[in-house]
Symmetry: C2
Subunit: 244 residues, 2 copies
Amino acid sequence: MSSAAEFPGSEAEPGNLADRPYPGGIPDATVARLPVYLRALYALAERGVTTVASDELARSAGVNSAKLRKDLSHLGSYGIRGVGYDVEYLVYQVSRALGLTQRWPVVIIGAGNLGRALANYGGFLNRGFRIEAVLDSDPSLVGRKLGSVIVRHVSELEALVAEHGIAIGVIAVPAGAAQAMCDRLVATGVTSILNFAPLVLNVPGGVDVRKVDLSIELQILAFHAQRRSTARFVQATDRAAAEA
Amino acid sequence: MSSAAEFPGSEAEPGNLADRPYPGGIPDATVARLPVYLRALYALAERGVTTVASDELARSAGVNSAKLRKDLSHLGSYGIRGVGYDVEYLVYQVSRALGLTQRWPVVIIGAGNLGRALANYGGFLNRGFRIEAVLDSDPSLVGRKLGSVIVRHVSELEALVAEHGIAIGVIAVPAGAAQAMCDRLVATGVTSILNFAPLVLNVPGGVDVRKVDLSIELQILAFHAQRRSTARFVQATDRAAAEA
DNA sequence: CGGACTTTGTGCATTCATTCACAATCGACG
DNA sequence: CGTCGATTGTGAATGAATGCACAAAGTCCG
Ligand SMILES: NC(=O)c1ccc[n+]([C@@H]2O[C@H](COP(=O)([O-])OP(=O)(O)OC[C@H]3O[C@@H](n4cnc5c(N)ncnc54)[C@H](O)[C@@H]3O)[C@@H](O)[C@H]2O)c1
Ligand SMILES: NC(=O)c1ccc[n+]([C@@H]2O[C@H](COP(=O)([O-])OP(=O)(O)OC[C@H]3O[C@@H](n4cnc5c(N)ncnc54)[C@H](O)[C@@H]3O)[C@@H](O)[C@H]2O)c1
């Protein structure tokens, strides 16, 4: 992969774009899509594609191509007009924008059904993240091997965070214990939290919480399903009303 | 743009609100928050609270109170000025808006780490959903009991969907098999899909796909974590530059 | 070397979402 | 029964996101 020097951006005098790549900040909506683009780019790279136009990349990412180009334009001007984007170079730029040039140490709290699935899952370890520890309060789980790590007791949380410089905590404990675990994470200096427990976590400013909530997703699906199934009925009602 | 049918008797008759509760449709952003409100309401109800003001409910849901009120106003006018909302009644109204007065039959495809965690999880079964079947292609998993159901072979998909009137499919198979499973679900008439596999599913119009993607969430966290950690550096750099 | 062709990057209009701020409306209470 | 404090519901202002459409900028080929 090597040097970026031969690509636009480095030579074409955009000021000190190299020093501070994303001056105006990247919109949240864009940040949320960058990982999708990144995945599509990896898939292309694996198929041996070296260059891709916004149109095709947008299709694999499931978005409008103008949106894709505008998103990428927030990172800099890395395309070549008339040609498209160099896949490998764009992978690098998107990774850099997302902060994936370093590998982030992660702790998972809770080794139940979900925590085990997460710890066993190799998918997000590959790129950008490493699970440094899995913790549980249940003594019968401590010592068990999950994926590549051994379950430790939750009392070791603070020590492990300090030792491994952990920046991201994943909460996979029952809802009743989640806020307390969150508080401990925050007190230890963790400022990025991924929450699976079904409640709204309370955190001070400067701490970033994202949630993954299956029930919510299902309920949103149910809403649309209901809307679709009543659409026919409403149409019929409308016709009846129009005749009256 | 042209279709006048989109604005159904807009100013003519506000009277039939009861007949068609949500005339203009509920904004997506609102739909996505209703489940959060619902959860907060259940928590209040369990604590014995019978009435709640938008301010407090908004706090437990982690949103601005004006936003909460506007969201709820899309369902109808169910508050009492000077008092607040009746918790039990609002639970009913939000449930109804989300389509949770019926119980939705769900099929989970894939009984691996994740599928097992989902099937064992009682959380979203309580309200609004029931797992009717868990399917896998691995014969050694077929017959195993997960939660309250027994794993069946994936070849039974079409029959089970028809038999149980399944409307929602959950995809928890490896990425390589996800699109094929999705196609089969769609062909069988399932129009609501929750996808855990890390790829963008391709579906025809009228089919609703939502995704849960842990890698994406972690990457978004990484972005903000990086931004926070470079903020100090940039500030220092700025001062240095200002002095030069 | 020049012109046809392709594709990016972005200005602009439009739509969607958030937040503010307050009149309208309610129960409570004297 | 009228006043008062509380709270809703919503116009209007602001801000964010989307998608169109096209000039600018490149490639490619004859
Ligand atoms: N399993 C799923 O599919 C699923 C789906 C949606 C949401 N969730 C949510 O994810 C969370 C975990 O779910 P699960 O199915 O793994 O639950 P689980 O009960 O299987 O596991 C929870 C684990 O957390 C441990 N634990 C409890 N208190 C703890 C504490 N204070 N510190 C450390 N560990 C503690 C328990 O010992 C247990 O091992 C829950 O909040 C659940 O609501 C799970
Ligand atoms: N486990 C996690 O924490 C996690 C996290 C993020 C994403 N995911 C994604 O969720 C999906 C499932 O993850 P997992 O950890 O459970 O994987 P897994 O390998 O443990 O399980 C996959 C299961 O699907 C079955 N399967 C394969 N092809 C099938 C087919 N055509 N029809 C039916 N079943 C089939 C396999 O037999 C296996 O039991 C994957 O796409 C994965 O990328 C998982």
